[in-house]
């Protein structure tokens, strides 16, 4: 895949993640997971796991090349 294609894929995934952050569908009462974790909190923890994976992709050489001037 070309560098431009990687950038496009990253942009699409980034926008999708941001859209999923505005989670109006989670408003109101929800279940407790494992007896203590409110659903809204669990949703955003999962969202952060997805964000961490996307950041891993962002820091790959396909998206973020090394700087030739670095020591």
């Amino acid at each position: 895949m070309s560098a431009a294609a990687h950038h496009r894929l990253f942009a699409v995934l980034g926008v999708a993640l941001v859209v999923l952050h505005v989670d109006t569908w989670n408003a109101g009462p929800g279940e407790l997971l494992l007896g203590w974790l409110p659903w809204d909190l669990a949703y955003h923890l999962l969202w952060m796991a997805a964000a961490a994976l996307l950041v891993l992709y962002m820091t790959s050489r396909a998206i973020w090349p090394e700087d030739q001037d670095d020591p």
Partner: protein
Amino acid sequence: MTSLAAIGLVVAAYLAITLVIGVVAYRRTAGTPEDYFLGGRATRTTVLFMALFGTNVTPFVLLGIPGLAYHQGVAVFGLNAAIVGFGIPLTFFLIGEPARRVARRLGAITPAELYAERLGSPAVGLALFAAFFLYTLPYMVTAVIGAGLTAEVLTEGNLSFGAASALILGITIAYTALGGMRATMWTNVFQGATFLGFIVAAFFLIADRLGGLGAATSAVQARAPHLLEKATTGAFAPGPWASWALAISLTVIAFPHMLVRVFAARDAAALKNVCRLYPLVLVVLWLPAVLFGVWGAAEVPGLQGKASDAIFPLLVARHLGPVLQGMALAGVLAAVMSTLDAQLLTLSSMLTRDVLRRVRPGLAPAREVVAARLFTLALSAAVFVLVLARPASLFDIAAFSFSGYVTLTPTLLLGVRWRRFTAAGAIASIAAGNLALALALAGVLPAPFGVLPVAWGLLAAIAGALLGTALSRPPPAEQVERALGRA
């Protein structure tokens, strides 16, 4: 040994270690501005991460967020923490990395200096300096207020708010003025480990004292069930939710004290590693902070308004012994000092490089360092006066500063990513963004769909940047090439 003596001993040990690290760093610091202000641009992953994270974390997270969760519940996590787990690394990539490269190429030390050089305009540097100063000073005040508040609660008033604030400022001035960037970064490693270690320990210990995670949540369900669900009004309606997400995602890279630390990175690999660690460590810090506030609402009900900023120290005082109370205070002090030192150093470097050097162009490098140390003292005095006035809640002050920084992001981004961007575009962007923000904060501009004033500020800043650039001549090719390299 009395409780107070135990707390005092733990805090004294923390302060002594911090000072020792500062003195060791001072002995390793050369007298050149680049070494004093940027640690020689040689910072590797661990120190860079702890310096950036320690600078980023203030009492806004340790006290303001539990205080907010006390009133608004678990949704505070989604509102404030989740989005920055992606937003901060993204802005490090989009703005931080190219800015680091340009700063090294131009030999720039402050962000204002970088953009003034890149755009060939001292006016851009002065405009950025003015904006950075305007928004950083109140943000510094939040840090010191947090420390004073915690000290007062945990020492049951034996150490007053004013005395605690003076103590924090005094110690921070000492190691910052002496050792510059190297001292602040090295102390940040210790400070970050202190507050992260304590908050994780406190999370499990307080949960245990409340009968376990399930029992703590059940108590909230019985007394304040609304705190376990997301509301649909106020800050949680889609408009305010989305615009606040925008603000806190974009604002961090525009903190001059964060951007300067990015300049200190040794290479791209160090900055990439910081990005990878950020979302993971955010969870470790923010999940306990939010749950302390929610559990506290069931445990200590009835706190009104900004009084809830004290819920974390109140829980610690109720459930943990004197040594751990001392560690709690040390943890909050660590969070305060790791931000305050960076802010003091950055503002003093900007006063020296962006103002004093323009007034006295022939200033010797060694004199620059002396001037920066004097500016650090003067800034601390100004912060102390503002702290004693304590104008609003931690969250309100931070929200004002965050919104202001966001108006600068179009200039910061376009200045290092768009070759056609001009000085006129930068000035128009900063002026329009801040004017729109001021009008929105004053209620002159409407708030469609409940969006926050920051959305107006950002929109105007983008429009100003594009319009100002379109109406001005392209910058000279050699000026662009010197900063950004060949196309």
